[in-house]
Assembly symmetry: C2
Homo-oligomer: 310 residues x 2
Amino acid sequence: MKKTHFELIILGSGPAGLTAGLYAARARLDHLLIEKGAAGGQVLLTDWVDNYPGFPDGLSGFELAEKMEAHARRFGLNTLTANVVSMDLSQTPKRLTTEDGEQLSCNALIICTGARPQLLGIPGEVEFTGRGVSYCATCDAPFYRNMHVAVVGGGNTAVQEASHLTKFASRVTLIHRRDALRATKIVQERAFANDKIDFIWNSHITAIEGEKGVERIHIKDNSGKETSLAVDGVFILIGVIPNSEMLPLQLLKAEHGGFIPTDNETRTAIAGVMAAGDIRSKEVRQIVNAAGEGATAVLAAEHYLNNSTL
Amino acid sequence: MKKTHFELIILGSGPAGLTAGLYAARARLDHLLIEKGAAGGQVLLTDWVDNYPGFPDGLSGFELAEKMEAHARRFGLNTLTANVVSMDLSQTPKRLTTEDGEQLSCNALIICTGARPQLLGIPGEVEFTGRGVSYCATCDAPFYRNMHVAVVGGGNTAVQEASHLTKFASRVTLIHRRDALRATKIVQERAFANDKIDFIWNSHITAIEGEKGVERIHIKDNSGKETSLAVDGVFILIGVIPNSEMLPLQLLKAEHGGFIPTDNETRTAIAGVMAAGDIRSKEVRQIVNAAGEGATAVLAAEHYLNNSTL
């Protein structure tokens, strides 16, 4: 009979899930990592990773995901490819249901389902992701030395990152659909005082074009007037969406549209349920801190399993 | 004139400090990383690192430290070798004083001074560290498949790790200087019920011996009787000491003998001061989560610098 109960289930196979898998396998926990598709999560969409410590020359997102997966497999990672669509975390054991109707259960659960950037949904956006279109200035700013980049957004992230980008780019054009920014006052003031930043108000991008990489964007203002602007890159910083559709958000006390609050040890509001990586309610979403949280989560899970009377 | 003021100072060059350095350099922050000795911290004392995600075959601690340092240097890390002996964090800018009397100041500070294991201070202990003597079962347990290991200690960590080690070792002997354990009841019960674990009470190790690696330990009980025991490894799990001698512990609301409490974003009780890595008050001390916290700390520092009116 197929095994359906595990001490620990890890949901998701990005850097947090793969690191949790590595630690769970090394700890010889009775575990299962459930992955929806190929291992790597958002890292697979990242052309080049220059800021995961220990790889001085950088490496492709694909290569990093492969290495992380191979690492966990070396220690005996158990995986299942399935799409979990719902779960019952109100009792022990915790129960998960897949799209195919399969039922799985576990005593401890680590949620690593990640998040995804809010897309504009315009022609050229997906095609040029990693080749001029970026959703992370912290990751990609250094690739744009002495270039002209556009930033889309008006919140704290967009405005702060516009200022940050001027340390590399020669010119930053911030495009916002309203006539005022939402960012904190002082962040706004610094952007306004920065002569490398110019602003296009009441406007949105309608298309991204180029040959090998981004060369220009089309902009439409609220009166319907269209223009185009030559740029080398576009940073789309309009928000992050948690992959939390399958989660019991109320029980997990989810906030900001589905992110899961945790304590410093990645424990959620539900005993025996941890959350690691981009799905956590937090400020900084980087590969290395997702990985770090994956390790912390397994040790928190072990602690829970060792100290509970299940 | 020599520059003595920086936007950001990072104190310490273990995985947390080096990752903070990488992120600070990449963000082109006006920064200085102060290292006491060679970069790497405790990683330099680690013979083989098998659990830093992305290196499926493992690598030596020395090699990982070198790679992390080279990575940060590639992006322009600025370092100073100095021993900071005191600091004034009660005002802005924050002031640091080195052993040589040098004065440095900064607007934001990231404390990554780390921690060190409590040693037994017996012959053979230092000589065999990394060759049979270990202070981290999570890191080293898989090296002891089908071997006999001793565990020294009686607290939660020691007893939990003794149970954990039985997943690999064929026999675990726990040696405790008292006649009862301090660990949580249920953790104790599981250890007592585990027939791979035996206990030597009211005793301490007086020496560790062997040729290339650990072969035997000498044990003395409280009545003075001496015996010896053949073992392949010794896990010394009697506590962790924070490297906090130079820190204003009261201002930082330090706890558990000098560890620094922080929020999820690594912010301490002092505005503009972050703490990352083993110096943080936390449960899990692993290379990858130290690194992750280093990244988080720089983004928290940037946020502080962007939003303060310094």
